[in-house]
Each structure stands twice: as C-alpha cells, then as structure tokens.
Amino acid sequence: MAIPTSSIDAVIPSGPVAETAPPAAARRRRLRFVANPKAATGLVILGIFLLIAVIGPWIAPYDPSARGADLVAPPSGAHWFGTTHLGQDIFSQVLVGTRGVIFVGFLAGAVATVLSVLIGVTAGYLGGAADESLSALSNVFLVIPALPLVIILASTIQSAGDLVVALVIGFTSWAWGARVLRAQTLSLRRRDYVEAARASGESTWRIVLFEILPNLTAIIASNFVGTVIFAVMSEITLAFIGISTISEWNWGTILFWAQSQQALAQGAWWWFVPAGLAIALLGTALSLVNFGIDEFVSPRLRSSGKAKVRTADGRVVRMRVGFTPVLASPSSTPPPVPEGAAVLTNAEGKAAGR
C-alpha cells in the first residue's frame, strides 16, 4: 500500500498558527514579563537606583565625608536631607551610599545564584550519591541561620570591605535556591524533552546547559532577586550594628551613625528616614520584580485586570470560580435566531418520532 505524499500534505494543518514572525513571537514572550505592571514598576524603581549607583558619586553635591559647619542641621536648601553630627551632608551620603548597597546586593546575589545553580542543578541532574551529598550540604547550610553566620564570618574576616561582605553573604545564602533548583531539576530531568535529548545522543553537559538550564531561568531569576533582597538587608544590618567595615558609605553606615549618635533622641529624624525609606523602596522594587517573575511563570497568580462584571440582573459581581456570571449586555449575541426553530423542531421531532 502506497500513500502518495500528497495525501500527507492534505493532512498537514496549515492553520492560523503560521502567521506571526517567529523572532517577534519570542520577543513577545519575553516582553510579556515587562508588561506586567508590578514587574514594570519594580524595574523602573530598580533602574533609578542602578542609575544612582553609577552616577551617585558624581551628582552628590558634597563629599559625603566632608565636615561642614552646620552640625545636625535639619533639611534645608543647602542640605536636602540635613546634616550629621560632623556637618556631613546626608543627601550626598545617601547618593554615594547607593553604590555600595547595589554592588553588595548584586554581587552577593550573583555569587549565591551561581552556587545554587551549580549545586542544585548538579545534584538534581546527577542523582545518586552526588545528589545525596550535595543536598546534605545544602541542608546543613539551610539549617545554619544565615544572619548570625554572616555576622560571625564578617567579624572574622579582617577589614571586611564591600567585596568581602558580598562574598560572605553570597557564600552563606545559596542553600535555599539550591534546594528549589534541585527539586525543579529533578522534575525536569524526568521530562520527556530531556529524555529525548538524551536518547538522541546529547552529552550530559549539553543537556544540563542547554536543555535544563534555560527552563530554570525564571526560578533562577526569582532566586537571584530574592538573594539580592537578602543581601541588601544583611549588608545594611552588618553596617548598622557596626560589624562590617564602614569605610565606604552605604545606607547601613548612615543608619549606624544615626543610631550611635542617637539621632532620634536628638530629634534628628532626617538622619534616619531617608536611608530607611531608600532601603524599603529598593526592597519593594525587588519584591515587585519577584512578583512579576512569579506571575510570569504562573499566570494564575496574576490578578486579572477587570475582575468585576455587571450581570444580567444588573448587579456587579466579582468573577470567581464556581459561579460563572451571566453577562448583562448581550451585545454581540444574535438573539433573533429562530428561538423556536431549533428547540421546537427538536421537540417536534421527538414527538413525531414516538
């Protein structure tokens, strides 16, 4: 029996799917993330902080360490955020301090992410003894509370500068990510497409790098963002309690000085508030980006734009599972369909059939 190729052609769907240009589609997929309002807001704020991190030291009106004549002066035209006990300009400190915060946050995030990917994905993909020992390792790191560990480590290391602090935070905070990634890799490893790649003869490292990793991007990204938040908080905490080197300005350093000079008791709220708000804002921005990623990965989490509808009986209800609303305006419904036609014919038909 021969099947002419034409017959196959006839069965080939040439449906509506074939229209869009592929690269555009790919871009669309990626842009969808940015289109998420939460992610967009987060990214914009983050962008501003990044910009300040880069240009902060140039646009700062004063040298943040330079002493001035006005001691503990409230915000004014000359000093937007007021001054410290040495007459230093707090606005400049915040601007200049952004760089350290961003640097440590992102470096620690990157270190932790790389470690968690290395350890988590390896453990998940290799399985067996390698998995057992690597997950044991990450479990141990998970059990050891990070902040105290960071505090101890940071106070261990001589002259803990930004770089050291970032590394310490990075090296102590990868465990959670590794665990998540391992679980995800385990499930990916069983996916058909990984098996299929294996069956077609791909080498192990290529499978890990090109088949598994790209599918973990969202998790890795959200992991990264999470670690950055943690790193920023840890760094600020370390500076605040006076453990890390505070040679370079960061927001924690500002708070450290404010605290050790009892700024609030002095009534110098301006010493505390800007740095605290900056931290909160950066944290919020990062969280928003994280939500964006979450929603991107799992669209269910998106709260759909318009959740309320007007129903046929004129009430406004929320759309929810289990109670499908009956919409008010049958705008596009063509009611003039022979109401009787179908239904009646049927009924008649049955009647006749009897």
Partner: protein, 368 residues
C-alpha cells in the same frame, strides 16, 4: 489513499533483536525489608523476545503499565537491562553513555508519546533539528549544507515549506506538527530503527491519522524498521505489519496484525478486543451493551508487578484459567493453522488435558 489487504511482504533483514529482555526496577526499600535480605523489584519487563525487521512496522500493544515504554527505552539503551540481550544486526550491544551510546543512537532512535512534552519549550525547531544532525555528524560542514539538511529533514516529515516552521517554538505548533518535529529529530540521526512510543495517543483524533500515515510512508521510503507502541489495538491493525501483545511485563501473543486482531488467541487479547469501542455493536438495548462486556474476573485491575502472580500472569482475570495456569508459566505456543501466530497460553498446548476455565470458576467462587 487506498487500503488493500496487506500482502504479507517477504520477511526482510532483521535489524534489531531482543532476546529474553528483562527489566526489574528496584523498589524503594521499606524498614521491614531491611531485615530480610530480599530486594523487592518491579518486574516491569520479563523475558521479552522481539524482532524488528527492515521496512516493517511491528506494533506493541497492551494496557497502561504493561511495560511497553520500558521495552522501548531498553531498546534505546536508555535503561540498563537487568538481563537478556539486545542485538543490532546480530551483534550484541551494551552501551552506557559516551561515544558508544552515540554510535548506537545513530542507528536506533526513540520518539516519545507526548509531543507536548518531548520538545524543549525554550528551543526552536531549528535548534532541535540542528542538534540531532550535528550530534551524529550529518550537519554538514557549511551553514548552507546545514540549511539544506534541515530543509530536507522537514520535507521528509512533510512540514513544508520549511521556512514556515523552522524558526518556530514548540508552543507555536499544533500537536501533530510537534510530533512531526519529534519524528524529524529522530530522523536527523538517519537511523535504521525508529522506536515510536505511542506517537499518536496524545493527539487529537483528526490529526492522528496524518502522523500514522507519515510513519508508514517513512517505513516504505526509508526502509526503516519501526516499533509502534500503542494501547489502541485498532490502530495496530490499521498500521502495523506485525502485532505483539504485552500483559504485565510479558509478551502474551504475537503474529501478523490482521490475524492477531481478527482471531485473537490469548484470552487477554480477546478481552482487549472485546473491550474496544465498537460502533457496530450499537442498536440494541443498553443491556446488550452490558452483556457484551467481556468477562473479566479481576475487575479490570492489572496485577501487581512487584509480586506478579505465579504461572501465567493473566490467570487471576482469565475466564479460561486452568489449574496449570496458576503454577506454570506458559511458553510461546504456536496457534495451529496460523503460521507466525503464537500465544503464551496453555490453551494452545497440543498436549493440554485440562478443561479451560476449570480453575477460573474455582478461584472466582473463592474470591466472591
């Protein structure tokens, strides 16, 4: 397209052959097992013999969990076999990754059941196909050669014009198109054997046919040996030259597709065929439909593969069970008068002296 009674083609060269193929998966140990030395295993595949010939489609049917996919993966050397032998062109092969696995994969390729899962969502069609060409050195030396090879590949699975599909992501393709890409990827290795694990079960009715026809076309044009795995016995009849029936990890019947489907020998095959939906059975009262329900003493439940029933694995459900079925494993027995048709069932033992069904009633009575 015309359909003619398959004119049993002459037996061609054997490409891949499995002998006494066995796969036992270890069961995770329980505390109580720690005391006993015995390791518990899932008898996923036991003593399976099978022959794939050039230019022939062999169907492997059986219910879910009967071990079909495991056989396919064993043949693709994705699992290590517990025992038995796999011979490629008569040569025993055992490969465990690396260069030798690649060389094996070049000749034996596997496609998966679910086209929605077997393509990586982050890669384009081009990536998938390029990789399969490159791995096996069919990618050519220049970009132009590669491009030509890609077009050729897509052409072979009738995804033309190639430009329309080549830069798409899997999610932009329909199920049938995806399955074609999966097949094209297997063909990229230029294999001699194609192991197709349920290639259409996840596809919509109206698309299935296209993929099956494609496979048949490939068989004929490329002279491939194809193992077609399915649980839909009707499609085996339609598409395969030979059909093997599996039950609980063992082969229970085999032979020419038409013979197996029209004159099933093994009670399990009979049950399977009787259960398949059959539009021609309508017209009658629903009681008829109920009456047509074949006898199945097991409530439709397959046996545990950890402690498979002794003797014939089907005996707890078999209406024809005889006392010896409970203890003795039936060998392959030729069905008389039908060359090439065999069944692993004591009913076909020419020396059988027991009454079919004698053990069934006993056991049935005890069970109820």
């Amino acid at each position: 397209m015309t359909l003619s009674e398959p004119s049993a083609p002459p037996l061609t060269e054997v490409v891949l052959e499995a002998e006494s193929l066995t796969k036992h998966f270890p069961v995770r140990r329980r505390v109580r097992d720690l005391l006993s030395r015995e390791r518990r295993v899932v008898h996923a595949v036991d003593d399976v013999n099978l022959v794939l010939r050039r230019g022939r489609v062999t169907a492997l049917v059986g219910e879910s969990g009967s071990g079909k996919s495991t056989v396919a993966r064993l043949l693709a050397q994705l699992y290590r076999r517990t025992s038995g032998d796999i011979r490629l062109h008569g040569e025993s092969t055992t490969v465990r990754g690396g260069r030798r696995f690649r060389a094996y994969a070049r000749r034996v390729q596997l496609t998966f059941q679910d086209p929605f899962a077997s393509l990586n969502p982050v890669h384009t069609v081009r990536y998938h196909l390029t990789r399969s060409l490159r791995i096996h050195g069919h990618g050519g030396r220049t970009a132009a050669e590669l491009e030509r090879a890609l077009h050729d590949l897509l052409g072979r699975v009738s995804l033309t014009p190639a430009e329309r599909y080549i830069d798409k992501f899997p999610h932009e393709l329909s199920g049938g198109q995806r399955q074609r890409v999966a097949i094209a990827r297997a063909l990229g290795a230029d294999p001699e054997v194609l192991l197709a694990d349920e290639p259409v079960s996840m596809l919509d009715v109206s698309i299935r046919l296209g993929v099956l026809n494609l496979l048949r076309d490939l068989k004929e044009r490329l002279n491939l040996a194809i193992l077609y795995i399915t649980h839909d016995i009707a499609s085996a009849r339609y598409f395969a030259d030979d059909t093997l029936v599996m039950y609980a990890g063992r082969m229970v019947e085999g032979g020419d597709s038409e013979t197996v489907t029209q004159r099933p020998a093994h009670p399990y095959t009979r049950l399977l065929i009787a259960s398949a939906p059959d539009p021609d059975r309508i017209q009658g009262s629903p009681t008829d439909a109920a009456a047509a329900t074949p006898e199945d003493r097991g409530g439709g439940e397959p046996p545990s593969l950890i402690d498979p029933p002794p003797g014939c694995r089907f005996h707890p459900r078999c209406p024809n069970a005889m006392p010896r079925c409970l203890t003795a494993l039936p060998p392959r027995l030729a069905v008389q008068g039908e060359p090439g048709h065999w069944a692993s069932c004591w009913l076909y033992d020419p020396e059988n002296t027991e009454t079919p069904g004698s053990a069934a009633r006993e056991v049935g009575a005890v069970a109820s």
